[in-house]
Symmetry: C2
Subunit: 309 residues, 2 copies
């Protein structure tokens, strides 16, 4: 039985009577010969980048030598980010572990169900910092529709979605996004248990959980791990599954000057970024033949790179 | 400098003058209390599912015991799929290996750069089966906009995008999608080298490469692997990186009857599927507080499950 017997394109509008209408105004306009993204980066200038403040860099060293570096987003979840810095400075994650790895979803770490005391000054019940006012953000709208929100785009190099009617914006859950594990509502989590996305963007988490940053280097030390066989990917000790030990987590600003990793992010408010997005939406070069003419906010992959001393 | 100083929502329409206009007709209409996806599956009936033909099941056994099972999509790439069956039946992948694992992108396997002869009957230069006519497909439109194509939806349980104006449809590159590795155009690849997506949907590959199916079980045997450190994630022998040996690959129909894995896919042309999509677009239950009111075609995650004898 075919409820949607689309013999020709002409009947498309007839078959979805019990479905919400899909907007049809959108017609991609592919650009042939767009500059390849790598070329945009290669020809960018120093002004096209912003340095990451070492107060906003979290450096997680795993016991096996892996290093995962996270950029924090205090503009979007200031109290949770303040908590995260306090957890790092209080040694909360030193000798903690990655105890959950769920395929196509998240890797999560902290002191799950253990009795480690919280460092002083941690806000135990932060407010739901799941979105923030558009006001004060320099938003670059993405020129392509989003499947989840009225608008998507970038602000200060972060992928976001936003609702002009309500005047609110939020970080989108993309690959490598970092969020705060929580129990059921109205709990928002303190920030002691964090997760990183290791699969297709779970955008249904947007506005349901505090997003505090993104992994900018070393995500494979989380993604290329055995999956846990418990519900939600929790490792099961009784099945011989071993959590991944964390040696320590530091705020980069607290590391000896010579050891601090230094990164920069492509600014989203300059023409170079628009050229980059155009390149991502219209892949060309010697391999691609059909530019899409569009890209979703989580496949833009904002450039982040090491910077010189 | 802020090129997009969005102080209020009211100025949104003013700031993107050098950008293509983003469609604004789309406003998500969240559904509170939508049935949770797991509940839709639990209450579905036998008629809501279609069995997978064992001719369309590829069973890849890795030497370390991992089993990866792939559903083939002959309706979208018939010549490439015919080749894939011939490669399996000719033993092409027996003792081949997974030689490329690129984080947030693909794992790829076959006989890369080795001199294994092709089995008889393989079409060496298949046509570019990158899209097909809408005609003959029972398409269920997704009621939410797509960032890459005029329309997205499902046909016979497969995630697709399509262009009514041209009357053409194509499989979308989602997590676990399987495609045919190729060199530069106009080569389309024979089907001997395959890849599976292990990251965020690389939709820019749509219509640039032949998609022949999807992994329906065991994707973690590909995704939870060390990443290769070579360009594009190729394993580097001179750095001690070891390809993952494949024991054998079979078409399920050729296996002893008692050993054939049996699967079924939720049909996309029945009300249960619409309820499932509504649930994916409007997560609720005890954890989620803010239903998105939308979902992208690659985050629908069409239900596939084992079926009884």
């Amino acid at each position: 039985m075919r409820l949607f017997p689309l013999a020709t394109a002409a009947v498309l509008s007839l078959v979805s009577s019990h479905l919400p209408a899909q907007p049809t105004a959108w017609q991609p306009r592919p650009v042939q010969g767009a500059t390849e993204p790598a070329e945009v980066i290669a020809t960018s200038t120093a002004e096209d980048w912003r340095a990451i403040d070492p107060e906003n860099l979290l450096v997680m060293d795993l016991a096996d030598g892996g290093r995962v570096i996270i950029e924090l987003a205090p503009a979007f979840a200031p109290i949770h980010v303040d908590n995260v810095r306090r957890f790092a400075r209080g040694g909360w994650w030193d000798n903690a572990n990655v105890y959950r790895v769920q395929d196509n979803y998240v890797a999560q770490w902290g002191n799950n169900e253990s009795e480690v005391p919280m460092p002083p000054g941690v806000t135990r019940q932060p407010p739901a910092e799941y979105e923030r006012p558009i006001e004060g953000l320099a938003i670059r709208p993405l020129a392509f529709p989003d499947s989840y929100a009225p608008m998507a785009g970038h602000a200060d190099g972060w992928p976001i979605a936003y609702d002009p009617a309500r005047g609110m914006a939020w970080l989108t859950h993309c690959y490598a996004s970092v969020g705060v594990g929580r129990d059921l509502a109205p709990d928002t989590g303190s920030g002691g248990e964090l997760y990183a996305v290791i699969g297709h963007a779970p955008r249904h988490l947007d506005r349901n959980i505090a997003t505090i940053g993104r992994v900018i280097e070393g995500i494979a030390f989380l993604s290329a791990r055995p999956r846990g066989t418990g519900t939600l990917g929790f490792y099961q000790a009784d099945r011989g599954e071993t959590p991944i030990p964390i040696r320590r987590v530091r705020v980069a600003a607290d590391m000896p000057a010579g050891e601090q990793p230094r990164f920069e992010v492509m600014r989203s408010d300059r023409p170079a970024f628009t050229a980059f997005v155009t390149g991502r939406a219209n892949r060309g070069g010697t391999f691609f033949n059909v530019p899409a003419g569009g890209v979703d906010v989580c496949n833009v992959n904002v450039p982040v790179r090491r910077r010189a001393g």
